[in-house]
Amino acid sequence: MVLVERKDPAAFEILYDRHGGAAYSLAYRIVGGPEAAEDVVQESFLSIWRSGARFDAARGSVRSWTLGVVRNRSIDALRRQSGKAPKLDFDDDATLEAQPSEELTDSEAIRRDTARRVRGALRELPDEQSEVIGLAYFGGFSHSEIAEMLSMPLGTVKGRMRLGLEKVRLLLAEGMGINNSSEALP
């Protein structure tokens, strides 16, 4: 990222090669179509290039930061569209499994494994928890909008978000060995 900040096009190309696929997948999921997703990915990476990359390694990985930029741009694009409802299911395993494993590189295989575990953790959640998480993260709705949409108290929405995220976090820690000083709820 230091090289990207110094406007090194080769480093920027590597950044895109590593994270462009995930960025496009996330954008596609949020905005719901290829053309809008392409626009979002291009806008996102150009903003990274032109802003001089305000990445802070202390706050997470390059991938998380990049996808955060893409997610915000996608939500903006979604809001510019009218009446677009986000797709909320996480059941994409059939598509994933259909792809030949021998074509995967090691890093892709690890990512696929991570994806399976994350989807597995999300499926473990009660529907009401995965629903509010999906509406917030992939739909870009605020907790008050979700409360109004689902006709439930604001406190209930926030409580479901917390319970759902804590459960996902604990399930991921069990399955992926995430080391974060303590796997238990702090």
């Binding site: 406007k7 096009p9 190309e13 895109y16 462009g20 696929g21 995930a22 960025a23 496009y24 997948s25 996330l26 596609y28 999921r29 290829p34 997703a37 392409e38 990915v41 291009q42 990476f45 150009l46 290039w49 032109r50 997470g60 990985s61 998380s64 996808l67 997610r71 915000n72 996480f90 994409d92 994933l96 990512r111 696929r112 994806a115 994350v118 989807r119 999300l122 917030a136 993260y137 992939f138 870009g140 709705f141 605020s142 907790h143 979700i146 406190g155 929405v157 926030k158 409580g159 978000m161 917390r162 759902g164 995220l165 804590e166 976090r169 991921l172 995430i178 974060n180 709820l185 702090p186």
Partner: protein, 229 residues
């Protein structure tokens, strides 16, 4: 329930980006002075960071990367031009010489003539025209000439082959054995291009094909050139 416990619901919504701006600022103020809540948020982060992994993987069309890198190279090209103009302006030289050649419009330029001082003559009695010599065959029937007037050069080209989206033609001024980068240009048809930089004391002008936006040093041997000294 402690203050920290009360904030946990807020922190989950914060991590998901589901708070209003005012609520977000309130949470960030609290986080700045609360180690316990910061640790909880840090613990929660992986659950949110990994949510994108749950989506169906898709491969972006190759055109996305091409368009992106074209923008990046255009940015770099513009920055280089700005920097050159600034330096030229500071030096009080050549500020009015450079005429950027828009990709796609023109045709170009170049000249180079290893035809050492092959004088062709021009309509202006104060100008000299040199035939540019082909040094490597990159296209059939290509021709070029360099018109020099008061140390400023204009390259006239005919039937120079078009390049791909990732390449530009670039002119180089040879001086004291060194190649100085000059104008970059694209070619769609026959045309002319101003040579960026003074030809005063130049030994020759040469042309190469370079990555889009140009290079600081030639990446290939010149395919056309003209000796001036």
């Amino acid at each position: 329930m402690s203050d920290h416990q009360a904030y946990r619901d807020e922190l989950a919504a914060y991590a998901l980006g589901a708070l209003s701006t005012a609520e977000k600022l309130d949470v960030e103020r609290h986080l700045a002075g609360c180690k316990e809540c910061s640790e909880y948020l840090h613990w929660l982060d992986p659950a949110v960071d990994l949510l994108p992994a749950a989506v169906e993987p898709r491969t972006p069309p190759p055109g996305v990367k091409r368009a992106l890198m074209a923008e990046v190279n255009a940015d770099l090209k513009a920055e280089r031009r700005t920097e050159r103009d600034r330096k030229r302006s500071e030096a009080g030289l050549w500020g009015s010489i450079w005429k950027p050649v828009t990709a796609g419009v023109l045709s170009i330029v170049l000249v180079v003539g290893l035809a050492v001082g092959y004088f062709v003559g021009g309509s202006d009695p104060d100008s000299e025209t040199f035939q540019v010599e082909s040094l490597a065959q990159i296209g059939a029937e290509m021709e070029a000439s360099l018109e020099v007037q008061e140390h400023e050069g204009t390259l006239h080209v005919v039937k120079l082959p078009g390049l791909g989206p990732d390449q530009d033609y670039q002119a180089w001024i040879q001086r004291d054995g060194e190649m100085e980068p000059s104008s970059t240009f694209d070619v769609r048809e026959d045309g002319e291009v101003a040579i960026e930089g003074s030809l005063d004391g130049a030994d020759g002008v040469y042309l190469t094909r370079e990555p889009e936006g140009g290079s600081e040093a030639p990446t290939e041997d010149p395919f056309m050139g003209v000796e001036l000294s």
